[in-house]
Symmetry: C5
Subunit: 324 residues, 5 copies
């Protein structure tokens, strides 16, 4: 269970060989932050970066400490979109400070569980290994979030082709905007993890760099996925536009078929509706029926013409889709 401790309670552990992890949740209280800064001798710029959100994910080396800033994301299965908060790591020789932007849930629970149950080598290893575990759990937290967008894109695509609808327009835009902001969090992650592999610091045991290389690989994979989804989302817009233009074509074809068939017929009816005194056709015994027959022939010819050109197909096609 979490215990709320005062920052001062940590002082005795500093300088010893133990590993202390202090997790600060919520950046509201300035006094506590100042206290922490004093106890751990944090550079004012470091503290500023950790506290002022949002910062761009980055790694900065302050000799005695290594500061890492990343974005943590998570999403609820029954909600759209995702939630993101900034996490700052301050990695010292014998302590690890983490600053979470908000006091809400995080993805560190599996790490806490590991520590409590003394699983793996976490209790034997140093602060760098702990940092890896936490960073890895943050990076792993991106995958389910991205997956949700993959599903949304797939669903959208199916719906767009079957029944294009203006309401999808806003959804496509939202997906694109959210992927854009995910990408803004993931791009620097690549840099951050790469720097942790390359960084020439005594705070990371060279033997443990292999773990950060693993993080780096996952960050690259995230990047891959987010870029792929962005391309798919942007070609969804093409699909949407094309679907709308198909629908318009269909509408125009219907209008044209109806108009083209009836306008000439109406003209013929109009001709024999004229009131000239001398219109020989009007007096014939069968004139009326001949005229009706002529009209039927014209209509039939036009219908055949349209049928040959395949103008009725969209109407069949859509019907079949609807029944399927």
């Amino acid at each position: 269970r979490k215990v709320d401790v005062s920052p001062k309670a940590l002082t005795p552990y500093l300088g010893t060989n133990t590993v202390s992890w202090m997790d600060v949740q919520g950046l509201g209280s300035e006094t506590i932050l100042k206290q922490i800064g004093d106890i751990f001798k944090l550079h004012p710029l470091l503290l500023e970066d950790v506290v002022n959100v949002p910062q761009r994910p980055k790694v900065e080396d302050y000799n005695e400490q290594l500061m890492i800033i990343v974005q943590m994301v998570f999403s609820h299965p029954d909600e759209q979109g995702f939630h993101s908060e900034q996490v700052g790591f301050v990695l010292g020789k014998s302590y690890l400070l983490t600053f979470q932007e908000e006091e809400i849930e995080d993805c560190f629970d599996i790490v806490r569980e590991r520590i409590r149950t003394n699983q793996g080598k976490v209790r034997q290893a140093g602060t760098d290994y702990l940092t890896y575990l936490l960073l890895d759990s943050i990076i792993d937290g991106y995958f389910p979030v991205l997956e949700k967008y993959g599903d949304r894109i797939e669903t959208l695509e199916d719906q767009l082709v079957l029944r294009p609808n203006p309401s999808y327009l806003e959804e496509i835009y939202t997906v694109r905007r959210e992927l854009l902001s995910l990408r803004r969090a993931i791009w620097p992650l690549r840099n951050v993890t790469n720097l942790l592999v390359r960084e020439d610091t005594t705070l990371i045991n060279p033997e443990n760099k292999i773990y950060f290389r693993d993080c780096y690989d996952h960050a690259i994979q995230l990047l891959d996925i987010v870029e792929t989804y962005r391309e798919l989302a942007s070609s969804l817009m093409d699909v949407y536009l094309s679907s709308m233009s198909n629908k318009m074509n269909e509408v125009m074809q219907l209008l044209t078929v109806i108009s083209t068939i009836f306008i000439p017929l109406t003209f013929v009816a109009g001709v024999y509706g004229m009131n000239f005194e001398h219109m020989p056709e009007l007096h014939g015994r069968w004139s009326y029926f001949i005229t009706l027959g002529g009209m039927a022939v014209i209509a039939g010819g036009l219908i055949y013409f349209f049928w040959r050109r395949g103008w009725f197909e969209p109407f069949y096609a859509t019907k079949k889709q609807e029944s399927s």
Copy 2:
């Protein structure tokens, strides 16, 4: 309060250990600029760069001096767009010259305040720290300007989806053009701040490089934001085009519905308006009512057909939006 001094008044302070900051506002008077050039032994090319606006933001090392040129932006809350002017820094060992393009307001007031009230370490530190403070206040000045564009894009998006209108077209174009020119100011900023971190010059105390790294981080963040907004603004154009095409679809559907229903009916009316002598239907007792009934059946069938295909939906949808 600002005091207007002659450049010559500064001569005694040159070569001493004090830090002098001279802020030249407006680049109009050539004599004064020449005087300054003589007193501080500025290279003709340096002076030219500082005076000829607009220059591309850059850092140049003239051994005894470091020249920095950046763009300063600000915007008024009640105005659209933003204002930009060039600021040139000439950083010497014991003096800092700043050349502002115009005599209007700048974003140095918080620095002036700090100096006056002797806040922080500004009075103890050298010209490099002062340069950092000024540069930082310029970079910080970009954030509110960018934020305004973020708001404008969001507002535009909402309006575009609700009620697309040609008048937004010009606004989108304006936002894109202004973001483009902001980007032109921000891109080289990244380079400038990066060079100040890497530059191998005696004019910047290695210990203070950490401050310029901070500037660099902020410049990167600006870049991130401006690129994101540019992408959003460019996908706004897609949204606009799609919205217009939706609207067109709606218009065409209305036309088609009306035409398709009435054109056949009008044809039928035309047929019975013909003046043939022998038209047996005309004489029936109930012919007229049977015809009217047939027309109603045709119309009803077509309305049902359109309703099934969802052609009336846009008209419901829009109504709901308007009432919400």
Copy 3:
């Protein structure tokens, strides 16, 4: 013939100068994988990468072993799309482990055949040459898959120009999405093969690097092809949109021709259908025929006007195409 052996059976061969190749098909059984990990002293992270699919193709050096992860693709001639599975190589001094994601067919048969028939120098060479052969067979497996997309794009293009149809829209989208995922497999392949050429490891004989350079060349060629196809597929979307807009133009032209010809004529008929008492024209002997003649002149003039502007061309053109 394949024999299913237990991992332990391999122990005696370790440390000898022979070359053992163990092909693990299907990653289901955790106990066997753990056994293998113990026997070959695999790093936990290595095992994790090999087992957790999908990983991004990569090369990682674990001193005693070199891990290579790639994607293998194949497609059946009578199916659309392609199949992909992950293959992990663990290259030791005297052994080569390959981990295939699934127990289905692979493209290693030609290598197996070579070993069985003692073709080439495979039996004389070390594990690095064997790795080359397997990697090469995987890379070669991409070419027929890509070729199929080349054919599909060409077919699509022909069909789109001849008879544009909304049903192609989904196909274009599918081709783009599948090329995108092929590209995701091929891009890192370039990196992997390049690293194998450059990697400073004792596990690859410098003399054999020439073979990996060959793989690298093929990977580049794959990349070239996949990028070209992606561009072609994306310009197919342009072709599709243009074709649809041509079709719409054609529809509108027909509607306009018919309406423009008949609407004025119908108006004329309407005028002489009015019931005014005093309409002198109605009583003339030849009025009716003069009116009909006038109508014919108007219709002829309009037809000539449309013919001169080439509005009938699309109808000729399409007819010719259909008969060809």
Copy 4:
């Protein structure tokens, strides 16, 4: 005043400490070029590059000489487009040869003026400074040309929004094509000037490199501007397409309004124009006026419906624009 001298007249000055500048205008006469090649011992490849136009701007070091090839552009205020010609520099220890493609005007006059009036340090400095002056005057010549395109884009944008017109289509395309060819001249300019700063040659005094850095800055600025204009020109196409689609919408709305109002009314008129014997409405005293009244009610209702949906707005809007 220019004097036409024979190349041989220069021989005495070679090897002395004087600086000779020979400006060859027009590349027609092969004999003279061969003569020059012999006198100055030019490498055949160098001569070929200077003479064969167009070459890509570049710098090449031939030990005794440095060859620089750039494009010079200028435009007349009363002409559209721009003029470009190739200028080749051959920079030797004591001489500078310039080869201009054509005998027309160039932008070297201000340099000639400076030499004649002995302004600045041009007469004291070496061939490198003279090269800088000439190169700088060429680069400065790009700015007014680019500015003209900036003006054209701005004018086009205003016109496109106010009154879209197909004739602008060609102009946009022309602007894009010309900016593309300007860009082709400017991109390598960046490289050329950068090489002149970095190049390790005895022909350029290290002290004068500062001048070439200035050229480099200007080249970067040119690049910036040309890329910005290209983006603006390409978003002009979007604006054009949107404007055309707005106009189409407007046209369709008018058609739909008119049709939707009159088609039902015409139908009603058609009904009462039928010749059935038994149509009770026809005989009422007020039937005609009731029918007319009903028609007015229908029309009024439809007009109200369209007015509520804002379909009349574009017609007001455009009117206001035209009167403003």
Copy 5:
């Protein structure tokens, strides 16, 4: 005249100081290729690359030999498209082998002519200079091919603006596809020529590297041109789409003008065609003429309205173009 020699005939010349050039045309006969491989001690991978077409252009250093693979293109003036075949160079100390994919014409004739007539220094220089000459003739062969595309694009643009036509759609697509494949041949050419300049091999005399630098320059120029054409071809698509949409606008305007003028008039005619018993207007002496006059006024008003809005302009404009 060409003489067909057996590969063995070359053996005596190996190891001597002479320069032998063997041009293998057509890669059909495997025995001959194997013979050549044996005589010149070619690495199996080298032979494979030379024989298996298509390979990506590349340079590979096999200690004793340098292999260069490039694509040769040519086109016939009276044909569309271009022809491409692979050429492989194997550059040894005293011999040069060239492998042409097909036995058809090549662009080596000017080099053969030079050798025969002992022009230039080709007979004195080594195999590297000969390689340069052949490579240069291949690169020069790209220019006329590209030029043809430049002409086609220009012609297309003129035609598209004057008379847009769906048939151009396929041509634009073809131009884009062919430029794409030209680009695939040219991009690696840049790399190939660059490597020849930088390559640290004894087979190329450092003094002759200047010639390969010349090739490199030309390859860059090719790249420039092909990228420019690609951009132009892709903006042609925009022009096409815009032109089609202009044409559609024109069609719609005509339909709208005709409908808007005649639909109200037809309605009026319909009203007076009703058979109500009591329609006072019908009995007036001048009613008919007043009605006709009213119709004329309505029509005139609408025509004036359309003329003011410039809807008749496209019809004038196109007429002028057709007569010009």
